[in-house]
């Protein structure tokens, strides 16, 4: 087996989807890394559902201010032109369709784009946070996730068995093995991690992958 991609690489691939001027919300965990991976010639406005628009990269230890955090509780840095608002206003933006892209983690994604990213068996007290609102409100939902569980069980499935966040919402899945688009005809395999083959990735996927005509190695 070849190497799987690391979290930084997955996040960098996701960040490549951000167009100039786009408004992007980064979900809990790995997606937060995208804030550090924006090329200098692009403007990306990061929105955070705790009430902030236009923050910069994650704070270094010296920069940390615990009253300047993203929704994953990570201290971030200020940028010119940023602004603050309350939680109700933050979700008006989100439900109102003003977020261009949200990058979320997931436990499972189905071939129809159903997302399960908050609850898991044995942990009924965990909650969805702002994930449902983001999944319903953002114009484009990108999922970054590991292709399988630690035990090799596929996380990309024909039907989700974990509690749903929202149905038919995911557009693009970026994993440590591949980049897949959700289409009307199911999962379109667009890019593969270096050295991986279609059969190898299909074997680790719980739904049918259709290789794209222009299937290629992941580009960053």
């Amino acid at each position: 087996m070849n190497d799987r991609l690391g979290e930084q690489t997955i996040a960098l691939r996701a960040a490549r989807e951000f167009t100039d001027g786009s408004v992007v919300n980064l979900g809990y965990g790995m997606p937060g890394l995208c804030a550090n991976l924006i090329p200098g010639d692009k403007t990306v406005f990061f929105q955070s559902e705790n009430g902030m628009l236009g923050y910069g990269s994650l704070a270094t230890d010296e920069e940390k201010d615990y009253e300047l955090i993203n929704a994953s509780d990570q201290p971030v840095t200020p940028l010119p032109g940023m602004c603050f608002f309350d939680s109700a206003a933050a979700f008006d933006m989100i439900r109102g369709g003003h977020i261009d892209i949200v990058v979320l983690g997931a436990y499972q994604v189905s071939e129809k784009g159903d997302l399960a990213n908050w609850g898991r068996p044995g942990r009924p007290a965990t909650g969805m946070g702002g994930g449902m609102d983001l999944a319903v409100g953002a114009k484009k939902i990108i999922v970054t996730m590991l292709h399988t569980t630690k035990d090799g069980v596929p996380r990309i499935v024909s039907e989700c068995t974990y509690p749903l966040t929202a149905r038919h919402c995911v557009s693009l899945i970026i994993t440590d093995l591949a980049v897949m688009e959700i289409t009307e005809n199911g999962l379109l395999l667009k890019e593969l991690a270096p050295g991986w083959t279609v059969p190898e990735v299909q074997a680790l996927t719980g739904a049918k992958l259709t290789p794209a005509e222009d299937l290629k190695e992941i580009e960053l």
Partner: protein, 270 residues
């Protein structure tokens, strides 16, 4: 397995993949075209694409303070017809305005005078304390304009409802009055409510005090009023401001309208 992006040969690489673009750990707004596209040189240019049949929110409250007068005048010159206007007041028109402010002023009245409007939605189509000679009231009495009268708080909330992607809300305002006619009612926790539906628009014409180059807005005193909620509720928001300042010049704690709600900015110094 490499978990980090590493620099190799002066190029950043990650898991053996060469990056086409160097990521930098900072989002610096260098060379972006984002801001330049929002700034218009004149109100005429900013309203040029308003189309016949469009729904347009017009900011402000009453006779003055927060009215986007220069955008209204530009729209009257532009000539789009069959418009639906959503505004708190229908305007008094230039003639009556002299009774309110020395020298008079322009307001939405000119859009009615020009025959550009087919429907008005708002809380005060005409002022009861003024003679029935405002342009909207004359046209309404002639059957030429439709009016939907909405209590002012319900108007504000319908705008916010439209802005926030909600389907509707229940309000106690209007129960037992003409406002409840034709609307669904519901008893919740022992109290009677009316279902009110969201309002959205193709364009909002608003007035702010200052904009920064991204389009973040601050207002001045009571000129805030309906402008922020309309900015949020329209597809394309066009703002006239007293002053345009560089991005980063407005304190992030005091920005009232975040820039993502603002599409076009025209500076009209007072």
């Amino acid at each position: 397995m490499s978990n980090n992006i590493v620099c190799h040969d002066g190029k950043l690489t990650s898991n053996g993949l060469r990056c086409k673009i160097n990521p930098v750990g900072q989002n610096r707004f260098i060379g972006s075209t984002v801001t330049a596209n929002k700034i218009f040189n004149s109100c005429n240019e900013a309203v040029a694409d308003i189309f016949d049949g469009a729904t347009i929110m017009v900011g402000g409250f009453g006779s003055y303070g927060g009215l986007p007068i220069n955008l209204i005048v530009a729209l009257s010159g532009q000539g789009a017809k069959d418009l639906t206007i959503i505004a708190n007041m229908g305007g008094v028109g230039h003639e009556l305005s002299h009774r309110i402010k020395p020298g008079g002023y322009q307001d939405s009245g000119i859009l009615f005078e020009n025959g550009q409007v087919s429907k008005f939605i708002g809380s005060v189509p005409a002022l009861g304390g003024m003679p029935p000679t405002s342009p909207l009231e004359i046209l309404f009495n002639e059957g030429k304009v439709e009016i939907e009268t909405v209590p002012q708080g319900t108007l504000a909330e319908r705008l916010r409802c439209g802005a926030g992607g909600l389907g509707g809300f229940y309000t106690p305002v209007g129960i037992g009055t003409t406002v409840e006619e034709g609307k669904e009612k519901k008893v919740i926790d022992g109290r009677e409510y009316i279902l009110e539906l969201p309002l959205t628009a193709d364009f909002a014409l608003i007035k702010a005090h200052k904009a920064d180059a991204f389009g973040n807005l601050v207002y001045r005193q009571t000129a805030r009023c309906f402008n922020p909620v309309m900015a949020m509720a329209a597809k394309v928001t066009i703002v006239e401001v007293d002053e345009l300042v560089p991005a980063g010049q407005l304190d992030p704690e005091v920005i009232v309208t975040p820039h993502i709600y603002v599409n076009r900015i025209v500076e009209v110094p007072q």
